[in-house]
């Protein structure tokens, strides 16, 4: 009985949904604030993401005629559920809900589900902008996903395990994977930017080109869930990167470990924000070219090095 209660508590509060929700809003705020500071502005107050979320929940929910209503209602939930589930396998400060051999694959799969949901949302919501945005999202998915997968395969091969917590734990004594596989980290970082559709890869939702992309026709609750799923995805993606490449919490569950983990996460977030403000948005064909001509070969080289030298 106590096991069930603690399991429920784990999933709902820490490091489950409640914790992720708070983290997502906090990271989103930090990101906006840092971006604003770099641009010479002040940025939103700390409660801003929460206010936005509540306001959207309380707004009217409309869809245009011709949109697939059930799918449009379901897709944001699928997207959110996928990233929340992925989070259960990723150690946070050394603490993980469930871990098994091969959960890295599951995590990667769950993290790419939102991209498909995003594409379908664009395709099914009966607006030209969202259709264009959706097809761009799909093209972009193919450009970043392969290098991203290969970059994350490197550490797994090195450690000899496909479990996120093992990979994270294996670095506690020795070197961070970042130092062993710098190219892999850079590729995974770039892949993450693509995954999160952040500037300079915010191609599917390019404001000045196609409105809000696939989300153009969404409003109210659905939009709130979409935003939340993207914000949670940011958090989960950063956790994953920290665990796989930056040594996680440094082994074990301790206060210093958790603090260290938090600091590393914030550093990755800062890096994401800085990359976001430094560059102009690329065009989808430029991203595809970059993905296949530069990133994929580099990932291949990194993998070969790992297999030949490390393995």
């Amino acid at each position: 009985m106590r096991d069930v209660a603690s399991a429920v508590l784990t999933i709902l509060v820490f490091p489950g949904f409640g914790f992720l929700f708070v983290c997502a809003l906090a990271f989103h705020w930090i990101d906006r604030r840092v971006t604003a500071r770099f641009q010479g502005r002040v940025g939103p107050p700390w409660f801003q993401p929460f206010a936005d979320f509540v306001k959207l929940l309380a707004k009217e929910d409309v869809l245009p005629v011709g949109a697939h209503e059930r799918a449009c209602a379901l897709l944001p939930m699928v997207s959110l559920a996928a990233v929340l589930t992925a989070a259960l396998h990723i150690p946070v400060g050394g603490y993980v809900v469930t871990s098994f051999e091969g959960d890295l694959i599951v995590v990667l799969f769950l993290l790419s589900l939102p991209a498909l949901a995003y594409f379908l949302a664009g395709w099914l919501s009966a607006s030209v902008f969202s259709v264009v945005g959706g097809s761009r999202a799909l093209l972009q998915y193919f450009a970043y996903e392969v290098p991203f997968l290969m970059a994350l395969a490197g550490p797994a091969i090195l450690v000899g395990s496909w479990s996120v917590s093992r990979i994270s734990g294996a670095q506690s004594g020795g070197l961070w994977t970042l130092l062993v596989q710098p190219i892999g980290f850079v590729l995974a970082f770039i892949g993450l930017i693509g995954k999160l559709k952040r500037s300079p890869f915010d191609i599917p939702k390019a404001k000045s080109e196609i409105g809000a992309g696939p989300l153009t026709e969404f409003s109210g609750r659905k939009l709130a869930l979409w935003h939340l799923s993207l914000q949670v995805k940011t958090v989960v993606g950063i956790f994953l990167l920290v665990d796989v490449f930056l040594g996680g919490s440094g082994g074990g569950i301790s206060l210093s470990g958790v603090t260290l983990f938090g600091v590393k996460c914030l550093l990755v977030l800062l890096a994401l924000s800085v990359t976001g403000v430094l560059y102009a948005r690329l065009r989808i064909d430029q991203l595809a070219t970059m993905g296949w001509r530069v990133l994929a070969p580099l990932a291949l080289v990194q993998l070969l090095v790992v297999v030949l030298v490390g393995g």
């Binding site: 500071r37 770099f38 641009q39 010479g40 502005r41 002040v42 800085v274 403000v277 430094l278």
Partner: protein, 126 residues
């Protein structure tokens, strides 16, 4: 420019901005900073106004109206919602009675609030 690196070209400016004095005004909590010359609300020195109507004649937006009831009885009405704040009335006035002061007109949910009587001149010397 001596720097030739093409990746992260904006970085020095980012750092400079980060440590520069903040560019943002603290407007709602502090009063706005307006230039002295700013052409905002219209005010009239009622004692100088003779009701000649030159300002009304030259106003490009028909934002001024002179309601005349006799030689020395008139009201000068200003419609802030029509006004272009161009200052033509200031130029046209030969008595220097009208001025645009450095204060922007306030928003209002109701258009009637924009109709302001600038001068009410009752027959005093008659």
């Amino acid at each position: 420019m001596s720097r030739r690196s093409s990746l992260a070209h904006l970085l020095p400016e980012l750092v400079r901005t980060l440590f520069a004095r903040r560019a943002t005004v603290r407007f709602p909590s502090e009063p706005p900073v307006l230039a002295e010359a700013y052409r905002g609300r219209g005010v009239v020195h009622a004692e100088l106004c003779v009701g000649c109507g030159l300002c009304v004649r030259d106003c490009p937006a028909f934002a001024l109206e002179l309601e005349r009831e006799g030689r020395h009885r008139f009201r000068l009405v200003h419609f802030e919602d029509r006004c272009a704040y161009c200052g033509q009335c200031v130029d046209s006035c030969r008595q220097d009675a009208i001025a645009l002061v450095s204060e922007f007109p306030r928003a209002s949910p109701c258009r009637t609030a924009f109709t302001r009587v600038l001068v009410t001149h009752e027959a005093s010397e008659e």
